[in-house]
């Protein structure tokens, strides 16, 4: 079976290796900076590309549980690394916005943070990812207890939905791409609402 082939193939892959893979989009970007491959609006290109990688990693992270439940494919040991990378790229996205795009114009940054729905929504998503990144280690799970840790990490769901909304809110008209991301996020969240087993009948 394909599933077993994948499981077998992934057996030598250690979770930390996901980080090596996760560096690639940033590395490609750095190469493009030095080869002048970012087009005539390099700031927007960098900002959008790191934002999009964050979004893709969020979607990838949301796939782990449904894949295990509905396809029997267990990738759970890579989930932490995917989540941490999503946070790293979201942070880069925010930093590029502050430094290269808004160029430390703090009054404009401040105004955006309170007035612009797409900024508010994006920043809220970032703030939700922050405690998740900080607690993405075994020590935090032990300290908090598994149940509390799990509850905290449900923040992933609103963070993902807000990240998708952030993309939709910043475009003109209705291009397909942000709608596809949002559709994927909502579908992956929706899968979690499917009851695990047929509800047992209560005795009369």
């Amino acid at each position: 079976m394909l599933r077993d082939t994948i499981h077998r193939g992934l057996r030598p892959v250690r979770p930390w290796m996901v980080y090596t893979l996760g560096v690639l989009p940033a590395l490609l970007l750095v190469i493009d900076v030095f080869t002048g491959n970012l087009g005539v609006d390099p700031v927007k290109t960098i900002e959008h590309r790191v934002g999009e990688v964050a979004l893709q990693l969020i979607v990838a992270g949301l796939c782990i549980t449904p894949l295990r439940r509905f396809a029997g494919l267990n990738l759970i040991r890579f989930r932490r690394q995917i989540g941490v990378l999503a946070f790293v790229y979201a942070t880069l996205h925010l930093l590029v916005w502050i430094t290269l795009d808004l160029q430390f114009r703090w009054s404009e940054i401040g105004a955006d943070l309170v007035k612009r729905p797409y900024i508010i929504v994006g920043f809220a998503a970032f703030l939700m990812l922050l405690p998740l990144a900080v607690t993405s280690n075994n020590a935090a799970i032990r300290r908090m207890g598994a149940a509390a840790w799990q509850r905290l990490h449900w923040l992933t769901y609103p963070a993902a939905a807000l990240a998708g909304l952030h993309f939709i809110l910043l475009v003109k008209a209705w291009p397909a791409e942000p709608l596809i991301y949002m559709g994927a996020i909502l579908a992956l969240l929706g899968l979690r609402l499917i009851p695990r087993a047929a509800p047992r009948r209560m005795p009369a």
């Binding site: 005539v40 390099p42 700031v43 290269l100 955006d112 007035k115 612009r116 475009v171 003109k172």
Partner: protein
Amino acid sequence: ATGPYSTDEAPNSLEDITSYNNFYEFGFDKTDPAAHAGKLTTSPWAVEVDGLVDRPGSYDLVDLLKGLPVEERIYRFRCVEAWSMVIPWNGVQLSHVLDRVGVQPGAKFVQFTSLARPEEMPGVKAGLLDWPYREGLRMDEAMHPLTLLATGIYGEPMPNQNGAPIRLVVPWKYGFKSAKSLVKITLTDRMPYTTWNALQPKEYGFYANVNPEVDHPRWSQASERRIGAGLFASRVDTQKFNGYGDLVADLYKEQDLARDY
């Protein structure tokens, strides 16, 4: 600079100007027009002039412009998305063309209609907006000497992705007002349908004057990224009327620009 209407600022390179375009007839991405506009047939080209004019009709582009002075105008160009360029246009003043066709006294507005040719325009085929693209100006805006019908850039014929063979340029307004690849000019007595205003009226007003004091509902218009300025020096303050206030502010002295955005 060439003449009283041009800026002294250094123009963007032809590469900047021709590789970063919003021309949704060819797709939503900035690179789509450069990728797909090569297919566009721009000759022959007719422009229909109708409505409240003395000499309506379908004019061959050459005839419509024959004998009118073609000027170089180096204008700032500010997109509603908060980026900007400096572009050396070549073109004729719209007022000269309107004088030629004879504007009737009842005309209060001008509507401009862009080409919508699905077989050459993938974005039209895909139905990305309510085609054809339409824009409009009030008569005093249309007759203003800054308002240009541009037919070239850097002394060369208009590149397809920039709105060949003839497009509007209204430098004190957001770029979407400057409709591309014009096929029709209509003189009318009422404010015409304009594409973005019809799509999202709270976000895109009819006037669309560049104004750092009036934000787009979803983003600030206080500053802009100057395309081509590189990674670290690109953001500049946005000027009211895109810096053309001396020439155009009088047109709006009776108006509240926060309401008439």
